[in-house]
């Protein structure tokens, strides 16, 4: 019985989120703009990490070849940066609508239907998924933090910063998802012109 209530409550929460986005989208637009701004700044950070990671990785290979010297800290820094690119950049990628979709159906429908898909999809897919992911990854970060866990490799880096990136990344996607829902609802009600049309990502 308890489980049934839980299921009903979940569906109720999803419906409530859509309803809030729908009725208060005009009032919530400043919030959406603030979230977009945060996402934009972190997007710039993630872009720079691409260049930094490149330089670090090429440097590692060159130094190992020339001086036969290799440092685990620098090797680990490479993938710390990769985690940064992905988890800090995902929210921005969502904002500019570049997460790939299966557009068999999506490609055929009107702009209004697309806004509806994004509004409802945000409540049904994105928000619950992000919440569950944060719920899974946060205790892991806390554990790593309290144990002050370090890499098994000699001279490696401490682990908690990269583990912290996981919950932080999903919180950012969650926030960006809320911002997108507000913008979609506003676009549906005519308060907002949505600027990022979906295009298949280029390869």
């Amino acid at each position: 019985m308890f489980k049934l209530w839980l299921a009903l409550a979940t569906v109720g929460c999803m419906a409530a989120t859509v309803a809030i986005a729908w009725f208060f989208c005009r009032e919530l637009m400043p919030l959406s703009r603030a979230i977009d701004k945060v996402g934009g700044v972190l997007g710039v950070v993630a872009s720079w990490l691409v260049l930094l990671a490149c330089v670090v990785s090429a440097g590692n290979a060159t130094i190992r070849y020339l001086f036969s010297y290799s440092s685990n800290a620098w090797l680990e820094l490479q993938w710390y940066m990769f985690a940064g690119i992905v988890l800090l950049g995902s929210a921005y990628t969502l904002k500019v609508n570049e997460h790939v979709r299966v557009d068999l159906f999506y490609g055929m429908v009107s702009d209004r239907a697309r806004h509806w898909i994004d509004l409802l999809g945000g409540a049904v897919f994105l928000l619950p998924m992000c919440i569950v992911m944060v719920w899974f990854t946060w205790p892991w970060f806390v554990q790593s933090w309290t144990l002050n866990e370090a890499s098994n490799n000699a001279g490696g880096l401490i682990r908690w910063p990269v583990i912290l990136l996981l919950p932080v990344g999903f919180v950012l996607i969650l926030l960006q998802g809320i911002s997108e829902m507000i913008k979609r609802a506003a676009a549906l009600r005519g308060f907002h012109q949505h600027e990022y049309a979906y295009e298949k990502p280029l390869q």
Binding site: G89, V124, N152
Partner: protein
Amino acid sequence: MIDAIRSNLGPMMFGGLILFLLIGYPAAFSLAAVGLFFSFIAIEMGVITPSYMGNLTFQLYGIISNDLLLSIPFFTFMGAILERCGLAEDLLDSIGQLFGSVRGGLSYAVIFVGAILGAITGTVAASVIAMGVISLPVMMRYGYNMRHATGVIAASGTITQLIPPSLVLVVLADVMGKSVGDMYAGAIGPSIVQVVLFCIWVMILSIIKPGDVPALPPEARTLKGWALVRKCIRGIVPSAALIFLVLGTIFMGLATPTEAGAMGAVGAIGLAAMYRTLSWKLTYQAMSSTMRITAMVTMILIGSRVFSLVFQGVGGGLWIEHMLTGLPGGQVGFLTFTMIFIFFIAFFLDFFEIAFIIIPMLAPAAAKLDINLIWFALLICANIQTSFMHPPFGFALFYLRGIAPPTAKSRDIYLGSIPWIVLQLILVALMIAFPQMVTYWLEKPVTLDPAALEKQLGTMPSYGTIELQGLTPPKP
């Protein structure tokens, strides 16, 4: 009733996946959501234990700490820089002049430049756009058949998919749990056969329809003698240096594929500086588009790991495996079925979706049928290449459409790609008929060692390698 649901959670999940993906919400998030939704049902029905979901943290950690995936941003970044730096233009100009006097000379030039660009980087956009901008007007001016001209450009742009160092091969290596070095070594044979096939087709055309592929008249060949030689050297030497920097270091064992990608990216920046096209604007654009592609790809991977963790837990993997290994005709039956299936599914899904969603379901069955996974991956790669040349995704056609002059009609571009798609399918058939094409280049021929096979089977359902590095999961 409950029992029926319990034993059919796998098929139901598969159905749910198709349904939710078709809605058109970004695949990464709908995948993860389907996975989590079914995990609650499965836990509720006692099919999996709640602690099983604790593996999720390992999976996430395995993704972000995966050294191989790190090469995705590097190779993308390298491609994004090269796309804008002017190397392709120089190459096309000089090689076009070199082959100009033969019938079909411009077509050969496009094919060779496509192959050289493919060996440097792995992005289709860079090659197609460069060749479309430079070669297409020349081909049109000297009376090349429009369909042939657009077809050869689109096809030569896509061969970069199969030629190492290709991003597609990196991703496939990760999904199949094989080393990228082996994947690249195995791709050498098919790449050569592909270039030869394309050239043979141009040669056939120049014999049966000489009017379609005329030689350049002498007045079009402005460069002669030393000037031409110098121009060729200017195009080819930096390319050769970059190819060595990336492929040479991998094959000689000096650098991991990831580091080779990083060196290639740094090399590309150096090259752009040499061509005097390097600017902050170019670099930032390249960084930003690389970041978005990396985030997009990795998020799909995260979503698909969540999905497949639960899918394996409810026995969906076994269900698919039984279906596939039960196909009549054993190995050949399985390969024929999967190749036709992937050819058609590529009309609907893009490469990364196929790689992370479909292939993990096929790979265990392939391993069980004693199919060399590197060979299988390369077959898939050659097959998927066609999807760049047919609607609706046909990226190559799409880029070409974007830069072609208005006299090139969409109809010509689409119809022109057909012979090249057929050539590509011939390549797939040849690869199935002669697996030696792949295995010859692998260092040790893959013998059917039962122990190794067992090990492979044991690792497959985990979808690639996950480095745990002494982490303990939190108690959920």
